[in-house]
């Protein structure tokens, strides 16, 4: 392996790493040990305590510092003479354009969000630089290689969309704990402590005529000298008691559902004197807002304990009180942050009380925090294994560069998609290589296939296309939209005020009423400034849309649609995302790390012929991926849980 052949390919290579976190630390270390001498690394994050269980280049004393920079310093300690260039910046920024990417022989991703991955994918395609992608969650990991024209690009196969929930499920008919969390976090917490001007569905009731909304708005405002304890009880009674009572009055809703129970303060506390509700002194000693804790105040220590309804109620009221007494300045500006202890306590307690009302099982703080914060569970070992696999694939890519396509028995074989799955090894294989797939001819990202958009051109506005289609579905962050030679919309730092104003005005116009009308048959060209991605959209006019299945009034086809994950009846959706401390990504990150979604199988013909015996079978069904080596037992391998359990039983008898 460290034979001359490999060594020269490695020594002269210029490598870009995106991400210096869990995978990044392991990867940088392994690259350095393997002989790489020119590594660039981009990461916009700073180090947190929860990173230290696996991001081993960092120490407690580094908390708050730049990951990219600290990682570099740590590796130079055992490889002082290599060059590592750190960038404490967002890879989506303008500095990292196509020219920047062009200087590298290979790009290695160690990212944790879909948005950035798509962005890097497009830049690598534009710069024609090979990309090695990877992801890990718990005991599961995967590595894929993407080479323009030769293999799939990262977006050729659908990626799971972020999990969303219909608004009415959140506001009126929760059936799972996560619904209660979303309610507590995005509605109640936001209403009480967040931006007052934000729209909030807290008092929305499905199928209800508009009640005098001015009236209910006042409920959440604390009156000038209102005693904090009294305010707390008032809010408690309103959201857990009164609102439930109102909801119950709508018979239709509850015809086939269990009725919730309204919960009032007096039911729980039996009119105990409120002083029992916590010792504020325990929090007085500290002036540090971030260490204020309702749990500490109330004397509950263990985040793994499930609290009773009464204990949850105590925490709820105590947390509310502490926000007003210790962090008043922040009220009106707060967003939920999973590292904000008091916020987590509040949301846990509120979610639990609501859950109790609806007969849903209560959860402890540890679990609630994971759900509310979209926390990805992670261990060092999986990252180390994946990092090793990334370097192996990277070396193969680099060797291919030297045009040594001739197969040599002692050199690394052709590129693979590698999967590591600890809990369900496929038959005996803990690590499994699979042939890479050919590019998807209908991938709009790498194959320039035109898309088709059905929309009501007499009702929808240009803004709908900009926001819901181009920015959201197509993932373009700096788009421009052209209709023939007319620019309908564009972004950029150097645009002057007047131009921006005129674009804003255009955006608010109905499509068919634009100067250059957008109607059925129109073709729009969409470009992204930095991703250098260009895409054509054919417009089709359609009058009616299904309110449930197509609530946005938009149908985009030719775009690799992610499998639908909207639960039940899809009216307007709310997702459990947004307010994490990791930035503006919208995903339940657990989902986007690994998508072992078996797509249509397209073999890489130039690879297989002389290397792999011709008994490589056709896939027998959508769920199976083919193993690199066509051995008869292992030809068809399930990646889902299906078979492996049964196989195991046989083995251990």
């Amino acid at each position: 392996m460290a034979s001359e052949n490999h060594f020269s390919a490695i020594k002269g290579a210029k490598v870009l790493m995106v991400g210096a976190g869990g995978i990044g630390c392991e990867l940088l270390k392994t690259l350095a040990l393997s002989g790489f001498q020119d590594i660039h690394i981009i990461d916009m994050d700073t180090i947190e305590v929860s990173n230290l269980n696996r991001q081993f280049l960092f120490r407690q004393s580094h908390v708050g510092q730049s990951k990219a920079k600290v990682a570099r310093d740590a590796v130079l300690k055992f490889r002082p003479h290599i060059s590592i260039t750190p960038y404490h910046a967002n890879v989506k920024g303008p500095d990292f354009d196509v020219d920047f990417f062009k200087q590298f022989n290979v790009v290695l991703n160690g990212l944790d969000n879909l948005d950035a991955r798509r962005h890097v994918n497009r830049l690598c395609l534009a710069a024609e630089v090979p990309l090695v992608e990877s992801g890990t969650t718990g005991f599961l990991g995967q590595v894929t290689v993407h080479i323009k024209g030769k293999t799939e690009c990262y977006e050729c196969q659908p990626k799971p969309a972020p999990k969303t929930y219909p608004v009415c499920t959140i506001t009126s008919t929760p059936s799972k704990f996560v619904h209660c969390i979303v309610w507590a976090k995005d509605l109640l917490f936001a209403k009480l402590f967040g931006d007052k001007n934000q729209e909030n569905d807290l008092n929305v009731r499905s199928g209800d005529a508009a009640s005098s909304s001015d009236h209910v708005e006042d409920v959440f405002e604390r009156k000038n000298d209102e005693d904090i304890e009294q305010y707390g009880r008032r809010i408690y009674d309103h959201v857990f008691g009164y609102n439930i009572g109102i909801a119950l009055s709508n018979e239709e809703t509850w015809k086939n559902r269990n009725r919730p129970k309204p919960i009032y303060y007096r039911d729980i506390f039996d009119n105990e004197p409120t002083q029992q509700n916590g010792n504020v002194d325990r929090n007085c000693a500290t002036n540090d807002p971030s260490s204020v804790s309702a749990m500490a105040s109330v004397g509950m220590k263990n985040p793994q304990d499930v609290w009773s309804l009464k204990e949850n109620s105590r925490i709820f009221l105590e947390a509310l009180k502490l926000f007003f007494m210790k962090r008043e300045k922040e009220i009106g500006n707060l967003t939920f942050d999973k590292d904000d202890q008091l916020a987590v306590e509040f949301v846990t307690a509120a979610a639990n009380i609501r859950a109790s009302s609806f007969g849903i099982a209560l959860h402890n703080l540890f679990e609630a925090k994971g759900i509310a914060g979209n926390i990805v569970h992670a261990v060092a070992t999986t990252n180390a294994i994946i990092a090793g696999l990334i370097v192996i694939e990277a070396i193969k890519v680099l060797k291919n560069d030297t045009k040594s396509y001739r197969f040599s028995p002692y050199c690394l074989k052709s590129l693979c998609r590698m999967t590591y799955c600890l809990e369900h090894p496929s038959k005996k294989m803990l690590l499994m290589p699979v042939e890479p797939f050919e590019p998807n001819k209908s991938c709009y990202v790498c194959s320039e296939t035109p898309l088709s958009l059905e929309i009501n051109t007499n009702r929808a506005k240009l803004r709908d296309i900009i926001e819901k289609v181009v920015k959201s579905k197509l993932g373009m962050s700096s788009p421009s939209i052209m209709h023939g030679t007319e620019i309908l919309y564009e972004t950029g730092d150097d645009l002057d005020e007047d131009l921006l104003a005129s674009y804003a005005a255009k955006a608010d116009k109905v499509l068919s009423e634009l100067n250059c009308p957008v109607v059925g048959g129109t073709m729009l060209t969409v470009n992204d400034l930095y991703q250098e991605l260009r895409c054509n959209i054919n417009i089709k006019h359609r009058e009616e849309f299904d309110e449930e299945k197509e609530p946005d009034g938009i149908v985009l086809s030719g775009w690799t649609q992610a499998p639908s994950s909207v639960e039940n009846n899809g009216t307007k959706s709310v997702d459990n995302a947004g307010s994490t401390s990791e930035g503006s990504t919208m995903e339940a990150e657990k989902n986007d790390e690994i998508e072992i979604v078996p797509g249509k199988k397209r073999k890489l013909s130039e690879v297989s012929e002389d290397v792999i015996p011709s008994n490589a079978e056709e896939t027998k069904g959508k769920e199976k991926l083919e193993v690199l080596n066509g051995d008869d037992d292992d030809d068809l391998v399930m990646l889902d849980d299906g078979d492996s359990g049964a196989d195991k039983k046989i083995r251990y008898q």
Partner: protein
Amino acid sequence: MDGDELTEQETALYDRQIRVWGADAQRRLSKAHILVYGIKGTVAEFCKNIVLAGVGSLTLVDDREVTEEALSANFLIPSDENVYAGKTLAELCCDSLKDFNPMVRVSVEKGDLSSFDVEFFSKFDVVVVCCCSLTTKKLINEKCRKLPKRLAFYTVDCKDSCGEIFVDLQLHRYSKKKLEETVECELKYSSFEEAISVPWRTLPRKASKVYFAMRDLLAFHEELTEIILMLVSVLERFEEVEGRRPGEVSIEDLPGVLKLKKELCEAQSLNESHIPNGLLERLVTNAREFPPVCAIIGGILGQEVIKAISGKGDPLKNFFCFDATDGKGIIEDISSCNTGS
């Protein structure tokens, strides 16, 4: 578990991994004592993983001094000669590892492990050995098996692009999730000696397939992973017979190695071509570790030890083999041989 909860510090630090294996497993880890004998790149990776996981203690045994080979794959050794001169591998690694997690007690023990008495081993829950001869491995494994306490025993070897792990948990009881339920399981392991004495001819069906397929050289190379265990055996036996220190075989020895391979194959009634000379040559000429393989094997070994300590999840049995050339990481269960398929 008795009332010792995880401290606040532990909960904060271990949050992400507790979400993977649970607070109970974390508590067990914090009480576990690991012994490591022979430090190479792969073992350095393993130590890093196990220290980050939060075990109770880690004891390192390796009195060798720093060599160029050691520096090539071991990231725990600082590059400055002024710093590492005069210290043993164990001492240097100990210093680095302490930094990774101040809550883990990392220490050094000097001497030849195979000469330590059984008492010494009773302090530990897990023993990992590397860089030593077959004889030493057998000896240590026997000591582990003599104790009333069930010591988990692992060997690990990485050469060139190949890596191998051997596991002996004696009699292991554990639980695992099956669908929505938790299921209790039990596994019985062979000792190291038993495992390497398995007649080659009865190794899993794959081996026989290789025999038939071997006419096609290319197909044969794809079966490399399955026969690594035979290869490592040939090399180990060569080292033993020639009185070499582990890993000291070089290209000049190739004729001797090939001769031994022939003898062994004859003794096992196995066609010689079962074991490709090319691969043997590769392993003989370049016995150095390949850092990506160290990361992979060290990662898998780390996870195995965590599973054994926590008693959660199916552990490997008996061997795990990986060859970067084909990318397959395969578990070889030798007990299926005894059923004489």
